[in-house]
Symmetry: C2
Subunit: 339 residues, 2 copies
DNA sequence: TACGGATGTGTGAACGTGCACACAGTAGGA
DNA sequence: TCCTACTGTGTGCACGTTCACACATCCGTA
């Protein structure tokens, strides 16, 4: 009738009593060791009869291992809604951790309150390591992880990231450069960029690559600076660029979502793509193929990024020292119709 | 030099020794009780000096409470990539749990291996409750949660869901009926549906609502049955319908993503929307506003669904019995340009 | 004076687990 | 006969925490 405590669960003691052996023998059935066939059989029937499930909390306390790894998504608000990459990264990480029989637990950080609670959670022994996605510069979580010396891997690398913490990412500079060069070689001359998230390494680096590719063609006034990698920012950014220079004939959007927004703004303004203006994006997300025309863009191997980050953490859990610095994954250009 | 064990952490004992008091007093500082001002000050300086962080695993073991609630996403593969709702549901749940100072941990289930590991995780004392999203009929996780009597809430309700487990959702039948009626009242006569996920309650109910709205106008041959709520399924489904009856003039797509795919197929076929064919979707996701034309659709209050599910779990954790059955949230129609 | 209450502190036990250790029996070889 | 190795089992302790309890002190008041 009353259900205040969630129902007494069977423990090793109960199993031992039911099977007529000692706790130690039960433990050996669970973790390996010498056990006679009769004892093992008795214990196994007792376990299924009583519905025994080992208590993770007790095990984690004793072993100092929880077999769980956190996947920390920082400021995911816009990410979950507009960037399909984080989902793929997550699934990639989960698959890799799953193979190593580790549980991935994802934690979402949206507010200062979340930051503090997640910090406590990470330090409290519920997880053995952490994968951190999309940290901005000076994110407090970076310091927490450094101080704890928690085995970790970052996806992307905020500029103030501790040297000892490995990261995985892509060569944003090189990729941005390559796709911008595609615009140049296809004959565009007045090329602008809708740059986003300039407080994040990815945003900064994509802008740097763009600048490097253009060389003398680079024109400071053709940079529209928007806060997020989302569709709405793309619409605004493109309108901004058209206002600054109506003769613009090429645009590098810092993400596919932005590029999609840019296409909308160009349509409004009566420009054809790729006829009047060439547009390229970044991510090769689902946006790329659902745009009209489909986007020429940079492919981000999101799933591989996730599994690579997971590997970096697992390696540390095995006691190996990961290679210092970061690991960059290849990002092939995907040529479609928009440029 | 060696870093096999992750660095000895300070415990209550260490703090007590450093502050010259007993463990009990330290515990009282943490959890409330009578403590003198001097003792409190000494303990607090000791804590920050030694960088003390309480051990969750030990606390959970003793208290039988972890202050964590699982968010279980079943078969999220297509969801994360194509359905933006799950992200919003997650953020809504996180916000509500955060206010109650509970940590949301999301677990992803993609394979049988995951199912088993997650079941162990749920039973092991690492979480106090669970929110389960998008369970299909006969999903093994349903039985696990029933057997454990774990405080839980489902988003959507698989047909074989235990009577005692509360769920939150929307009135799929009523909403589908309402939006279909919108097609009828705007003069469409040959109305088809691209139905998806007919092994899930949402899919079944949307079809039922469609059928109810049409009454005598209903024509079995104008139902295209696709497996997923995604864009690609929409393209295929619409081509299928056009093949069956070229005179079709209205389409209810079971999701916005499907509707977006349908628009693409209609464009291919040279039909104008809403001129030749009226199209309506479901979800009011970001798809709805990025389509051309923008979609008339059913608004799903995803964030509220998440926070409502969280409340249902929190209520059980406080010992209250939740109302049996489910809680349905309102789903206003959003009239845009596609029908 | 004695008493009750409020305030403050220390001690021991327990949560459920895994592991080190002790112990027992058997078998084989020197 | 003794020593060693192997198989099999039971016991005690520790992980870090919280809580119940015992104890101690001070104050106000009957």
């Amino acid at each position: 009738m009353s259900r205040p405590q969630p129902q007494k669960r069977a423990t090793v003691h109960d199993i031992a009593a039911a099977a007529g052996v000692s706790r130690g023998t039960v433990s050996r059935v669970l973790n390996g060791g010498y056990v006679s066939a009769e004892a093992r059989a008795a214990i196994e029937t007792a376990m299924s009869d009583l519905g025994y499930v080992p208590n993770n909390a007790a095990r984690a306390l004793k072993m100092r291992r929880s077999q769980a790894v956190a996947f920390v998504a920082l400021e995911p608000h816009s990410l979950f809604l507009d960037d399909p990459n984080i989902g793929s990264i997550m699934l990639g990480a989960n698959a890799a951790l799953s193979l190593a029989d580790h549980q991935m637990v994802s934690l979402v950080v949206e507010s200062a309150r979340d930051t503090e609670r997640v910090s406590r959670y990470l330090s409290g022994g519920f997880v053995d390591g952490a994968i951190v996605v999309s940290a901005r510069a000076h994110d407090p979580i970076i310091k927490v992880i450094s101080d704890l010396a928690l085995p970790a891997a970052f996806v992307g690398h905020p500029p103030d990231l501790d040297q000892h913490i490995p990261f995985v990412g892509i060569d944003n500079v090189g990729s941005a450069r390559a796709i911008t060069e595609h615009l140049v070689t296809s004959g565009r001359r007045r090329i602008g960029m809708i740059a986003a998230a300039l407080d994040r390494d990815s945003g900064i680096d994509r802008l740097a690559g763009f600048r490097a590719a253009l060389g003398p063609l680079f024109d400071e006034t053709l940079i529209a600076d928007v806060p997020h990698y989302d569709y709405g920012s793309g619409v605004k950014g493109m309108r901004d660029l058209l206002g600054r220079d109506p003769s613009i004939d090429g645009v590098f959007a810092a993400s596919d979502a932005i590029a999609a927004g840019a296409l909308e703004a160009l349509r409004e303004a009566g420009r054809s793509v790729p006829g009047n203006v060439g547009v390229v994006g970044f991510d090769d997300s689902t946006w790329a193929v659902r745009c009209q025309p489909q986007l020429t863009t940079v492919h981000q191997p999101a799933k591989e990024i996730g599994s690579c980050a997971a590997q970096l953490v697992l390696r540390q859990l095995r006691g190996e020292h990961p290679d210092a610095g970061g690991q960059l994954l290849p990002t092939p250009l995907v040529l479609r119709d928009s440029a």
